[in-house]
Symmetry: C2
Subunit: 388 residues, 2 copies
C-alpha cells in the first residue's frame, strides 16, 4: 500500500467474523459495514448529490464500462474528473468494466491479453485490458479502482471456471502493475462456488499488495446457501487479513446480514434503486408495491419510521398516484426512500454490532423480507425506469 492509499482500521465484534471499521479516503471517511449506491452513468438515477448526502450516502459506485463509452473517460478527465463532473464530493469506487463487458456488451471475444467487444449503444468496437481499465479509472479519478476480472457463470464446467480464474489472477497482477499513484486498487477473488478454487483464488489475490479484497462471482444465480458457504470459505482463507472486504453486487436486506457475519465490509447493488423505479419500496415491514390499488387511498407515509423527504412530505396515496400517472417525481421519491432506508439499515446494522443486538435486528429484517428472498442483482443501473 502506498502512503496515498485509503487507510482502513477496524475492530472485531462478537458477531461471527463481523467487523466495525472505518475506511479513510481523500474524499472523506466511510463507516463500515457500508452500502454504496450505484451511479452507473455518473448519476444515481433521479437523485442529486445533495439527495445522496441527505440519504446518508458516504461512498458511491461508478461504472467504468458505461462511463468509458459515454461521455468517455477522456472527456470526464478534461472536465476535472468524475467527482467534479457529477458534483459528488464524497468517495467514489469505480468497477473495472469487466462485469458489463461480460453481461451487456455484444460480440465479445476474450483472450489472455484482454477482451474485445462491441458497445451496446452503437455497436462500435472497443478493447478492455487490465492496463486500459486502470487507465480509464485513473482518468475518472475514483478513490478506489477495481482490477479487471473475468466473469464466471456458476453453471460453467469446473475447468472453465478454473481457466477464467487463472486469467483473473494474471489480470490482477497486470492491473496492480498499471495502477495510478494515489488511487487505491482492490483485487477480485473469483472461483465460482467451488471451495477449492475459491481458496486458491484467495491465496493468489490476497498475496498481492492490493488495498482491498473484493469477492466477485456471487449474486449471479447461485443459491443463498451457496453464497453463504462460499463467503465462509473466503473468510476462512483470508484469516486475519486486515484489508477491507467488498462483496460485489449484493444489496438485498437479508444478504447484508449473511455477509457481514462473514466479515464483509462493503457492498454495492442496483437493487434498491432499480426496484424503486418499479414502485417497490423497502420498509421495516418489508417490501411494498406502490402500484397496488390499495395504496391509492393510503394517507400514511411509505414508512412511518423513516425520515426521508418522501416519507416526511408525501403519502403513499400521492406516490402511488405518481406511479400510475408515470410522473417523473414517482421515480425520484421512491429512489430517495429506498436509498435512505437501505443506508439507514446499514447504520442500524453497525449499531447492532456495537450493542449486541445484531441477531434481533437480523431476525426482524429476515421476517419482514423473507429468509430465502432471491432478489440479489448487480452490475449497473442502466434502465431508466419501469424496467425491473
Amino acid at each position: 500500500m502506498t502512503a496515498q492509499a485509503p487507510a482502513f482500521s477496524f475492530e472485531p465484534t462478537n458477531v461471527g467474523r463481523a467487523r466495525l471499521g472505518r475506511l479513510t479516503t481523500a474524499h472523506g471517511p466511510i463507516d463500515t459495514p457500508q452500502f454504496m449506491p450505484v451511479g452507473t452513468q455518473a448519476t444515481v438515477k433521479a437523485l442529486t448529490p445533495g439527495d445522496l448526502h441527505a440519504a446518508g450516502a458516504q461512498m458511491i459506485l461508478g461504472n467504468t464500462y458505461h462511463l468509458s463509452l459515454r461521455p468517455t473517460a477522456e472527456r470526464i478527465a478534461r472536465l476535472g474528473g468524475l467527482h467534479r463532473f457529477m458534483g459528488w464530493d464524497g468517495p467514489i469506487l469505480t468497477d473495472s468494466g469487466g462485469f458489463q463487458v461480460f453481461s451487456l456488451a455484444h460480440l465479445r471475444h476474450v483472450d489472455d491479453d484482454g477482451v474485445t467487444f462491441r458497445s451496446h449503444l452503437d455497436g462500435s468496437t472497443h478493447r478492455l485490458t487490465p492496463e486500459r481499465t486502470m487507465e480509464i479509472q485513473a482518468l475518472l479519478g475514483s478513490d478506489v479502482a477495481m482490477a479487471l476480472d473475468e466473469l464466471v457463470d456458476p453453471g460453467m464446467p469446473r475447468s472453465d471456471v478454473a481457466e477464467a480464474m487463472a486469467r483473473t489472477h494474471s489480470w490482477a497482477r497486470r492491473s496492480l502493475d498499471a495502477r495510478a499513484a494515489g488511487q487505491a486498487v482492490y483485487g477480485i477473488v473469483q472461483g465460482g462456488v467451488d471451495a477449492e478454487l475459491r481458496r486458491e483464488s484467495v491465496a493468489t489475490i490476497a498475496g498481492m499488495p492490493f488495498d482491498g479484497i473484493a469477492v466477485g462471482g456471487l449474486s449471479v444465480g447461485e443459491s443463498k446457501a451457496q453464497m453463504a458457504s462460499t463467503l465462509d470459505v473466503v473468510a476462512e482463507a483470508l484469516g486475519d487479513d486486515p484489508r477491507p472486504r467488498y462483496l460485489m453486487g449484493v444489496g438485498s436486506p437479508v444478504d447484508f446480514f449473511t455477509a457481514v457475519e462473514r466479515g464483509i465490509d462493503l457492498f454495492d447493488c442496483v437493487l434498491p434503486t432499480r426496484v424503486a423505479r418499479t414502485g417497490q419500496v423497502w420498509t421495516d415491514a418489508g417490501r411494498l408495491n406502490l402500484r397496488n390499488a390499495a395504496f391509492l387511498d393510503d394517507a400514511g407515509p411509505i414508512d412511518p419510521a423513516c425520515g426521508c423527504e418522501a416519507c416526511s412530505e408525501f403519502s403513499r396515496a400521492y406516490i402511488a398516484h405518481l406511479f400510475r400517472a408515470r410522473e417523473l417525481l414517482a421515480y425520484r421519491l421512491a429512489t430517495v426512500h429506498n436509498v435512505t432506508w437501505t443506508l439507514g439499515l446499514m447504520r442500524r446494522l453497525r449499531a447492532s454490532l456495537a450493542d449486541g443486538s445484531f441477531d434481533v435486528l437480523h431476525d426482524r429484517v429476515a421476517s419482514a423480507f423473507g429468509r430465502s428472498s432471491a432478489d440479489g442483482d448487480h452490475g449497473n443501473d442502466s434502465r431508466t425506469y419501469d424496467g425491473v
Copy 2:
C-alpha cells in the same frame, strides 16, 4: 366578491396599462405580474414543492380534467384536498377542464348544458357541465377556480365563434351560481380574434361578480400581432376594472412583455417545463439546446447569472451528458432551471415596472429570444419527457 375571496390591490405604472399588484389568498400572497408553473397531474413534472419554493414560485396551476380522471377529485378530497395531496402549501389555481376536453379527450359532444367526452386514458365516458367543474374544483380545494368555457378555434367561421362565446357566457353565469364558499372564481373572456365579439364578451363577463377576469382563446395559433391587438381590445373594454387579469396559456419570454403592457397580471404556460424536458433551456442569452454536441465539453453553468440548483452545482457538459444518456436527472435539472429563470424574469419584470427600466429589459429579452417567436403553448403538461 365574498369576504373569503382573494383580495387584489394594485398600483398603475407609467408603462402602458401595466400594473404592479398583490393578490392575497388563504395560502399566501402573490406579487403580480406573476407566472404560474403548471402542475397538470398534481406535480410540476420532476419537481417537489420544495424545488418550487426554491425557484420562487408563488402560485401553481392544477388541471381539472386530468385530476378528475386520475386520481379523481373525490379521492383528492378524501385525502384532504389538492394542497395536502401534493404537499404544496402555496396558492393553487385550477382550470375548468374545458381546454383539455376540447383538445385532448375523444368523441366529445357539446350541447348547451355541457360536454360529454371519452377519457384519453381509458375511453370511459364523462360529462362536464358548469356545475360539475365547480364541484370538482371545490373538491380539489383550489384558491382560484375557473368558470367553464368553450374553446374557440381561431380558424372557425365567425358565427361559430359567436355561438361558442354565447355558450361560454351562459356557462359563466351557471359557474358563478354553482360556486363554493371561500373559493374565488374567475370568468373567461372569449370571442376569438374578432374585436366586436371580444368587446361583447368583456362586457358580459366583466358584468358578472367574478373575482378575476381571464382572457381565453389566445396562444392557440393566432399571430403575435393578433394576440397583441386582441389584448388591446380587451384592455380598452375592461377600462379601470379593478380585478386581476389572467392571460391563459401564455408563457414565452417575449409574450410576457406584450401582455403586461396591456394590463395582464397573471400567466400560466407549460412551455418552460415542457421544453426543458427536451433539453431546451432559457437564459439571458436566449434559448440553448443542451442536446447540441458543443455542450458536451462546456464546463460552464447553463446561465452564469442564474442561482438555481442546476446552475450552481452542475455544468452544461454534465447536463448535456444526462440528456444523451436519457437520465431522469436531466429532466429535473433542466426543469429546475427553466422554472427558476422564468420566475426570475417575472421578478425582474416587476422591478423594471417600478424603476422605469421596462423597455430596456423588454429589448434585451426580445433580442435574446427573437421578437416573432411562435412558441406559445398551453393547456396541460401531460407528456412525461422527450416529447415537445
